[in-house]
Symmetry: C2
Subunit: 291 residues, 2 copies
């Protein structure tokens, strides 16, 4: 089961999930001019970032919005980035937050578990209900893939719907998502003890982190909210279990780290990706130290 | 405001939203062979369908999953279909159900309100909260576009989360989405009396339809669930207001109508699109009769 592979990657390389939420503005100016167009600049930068970090991170996550913004050429870069990650034998999470039902869900799954947009894991949004998640499970079984379902995110607006009290106030909406996912996980469990499908849990709400981890021991967490959104190593580790059970995503703090380095004005891909590697190692070690 | 244009399209052409959820299997065999590849077959079929229906429907809706399944070539067909709809001066809803926050939402909006994937309206999923909807509002103001946010869908699994009782059981999760959207609509209201952003409300739950329409008078509804999912004209009209205020989507019953016609085995694009036109007119008239 693929979740076991991700578990092993964490054991080997630490918890950092490198977010390739890459747009042309994040690419050093000189390299951007050299590339000619935005999509090529992004692809070249992604390849350099992957070369520089693949042995110090658990996996990669691509936020597809950054590529859809560029239109067809952006999706070519998205596709080629995923292919490049596979050549390094690394795992890629497609952060697509899709959520649809029945035949539509199957088509999405075929589109993102195989072909041009093949990724290892996808992210899913549960608003439509569990029949928007279950079709992905069948497809994941067939193709050896996985998914993370949004449970409790890390943004301000999460309180609008995820935090609504339900069932006479004993639970919140996000608990209902978690309960359903824990049930699925129990039926589809890997050797590492984690369910085939995990959930997204942000590390911004320190107070609830330990309780969430305790309530959902068999769910592997994809953890956003580190860095810019206010979460730190001390918050993230509360969502781990025996030093594993989660990957912590960071994007801008890694891929634009070069901007804050001496010599940024003359930065090339080598310079920028070396700074990215430094940022990944720093984050990896911060988390390990607190564990 | 674009919602007023959609309102006018309903006045002029009726309530049918033609769902171009097109895959190669829905294209007549002879035409599929002629096209050479799936994406070209889908594009040719879409163009024929648009030619045959643009004067008898309110708008089109493209379920992007059907195109993402085919990879890059599928998204070329998606892009070309949207362009073709614009040449007919018709409105297109991109059924993408995206839902993400902040900068990511802005990038999605730029990607789907302009460039290769430019559509008139998009569908959005609200699970992450209102800060996953608001960035689209700014972009929609800038580009003259619109959106429909999932409120109460038409699938079995909608009961998993949308129907959870909140606030001491006086409301459901979907009401909270509706209340937030009604508030947005009051601040961004078109001449037709409807908010710039509407909501998705399925026509499968007859008992609640009248109440939902009464509670949200300023929200324009995108209505799925007609036909295959069990909703009929009598159900759909309960979600309308003064004969307008909603478009009713149907896809398979229109675009595969040719399969049930005499002579289906030798069907070509002309045959198939003529049957689609017949199906649209039938559905349009069924709704008008009940009004």
């Amino acid at each position: 089961m693929l979740i076991d592979e991700l578990f092993n990657c964490v054991e080997k390389n630490g918890h950092v999930c490198v977010g390739l939420d890459t747009c042309a503005e994040y690419v050093p100016v000189l390299e951007r001019q050299k590339a000619g167009n935005d999509a090529d600049a992004v692809l070249a930068f992604n390849k350099a970032l992957i070369d520089a970090t693949y042995d110090v991170c658990a996996c990669y996550k691509l936020q597809i919005a950054y590529y859809e913004e560029m239109g067809l050429s952006g999706l070519h870069a998205y596709s080629d980035t995923l292919k490049y990650i596979r050549t390094k034998n690394c795992l890629a999470i497609a952060d697509i937050k899709r959520g649809d039902i029945a035949d539509t869900a199957v088509r999405y799954a075929k589109g993102h578990f195989s072909g041009d947009f093949e990724a290892d894991f996808v992210t899913l949004s549960p608003y439509m209900g569990m029949d928007s998640v279950e079709p992905w499970l069948n497809e994941a079984h067939a193709s050896g893939k996985g998914a993370f379902v949004l449970m409790r995110t890390s943004n301000r607006g999460m309180r609008d719907f995820q935090y609504l009290n339900v069932n006479d106030c004993s639970k919140k909406v996000y608990n209902m998502v978690g309960d359903n996912m824990a049930y699925l996980a129990a039926q589809n469990c890997g050797k590492s003890g984690y369910g085939m499908f995990g959930v997204v849990v942000g590390c911004t709400e320190r107070d609830e982190a330990a309780e969430i981890r305790k309530n959902y021991p068999n769910l592997f967490f994809l953890i956003p909210g580190y860095g810019a959104q206010g979460g730190g190593a001390h918050d993230a580790v509360l969502l781990l279990r025996n030093g594993n059970g989660g990957v912590v995503n960071a994007s801008r703090s890694i891929i634009t780290a070069w901007r804050n380095a001496d010599g940024a004005k003359e930065a090339d891909l080598n310079f920028a990706s070396t700074e990215a590697r430094r940022a990944v190692i720093k984050m990896r070690d911060e988390i390990k130290e607190v564990l």
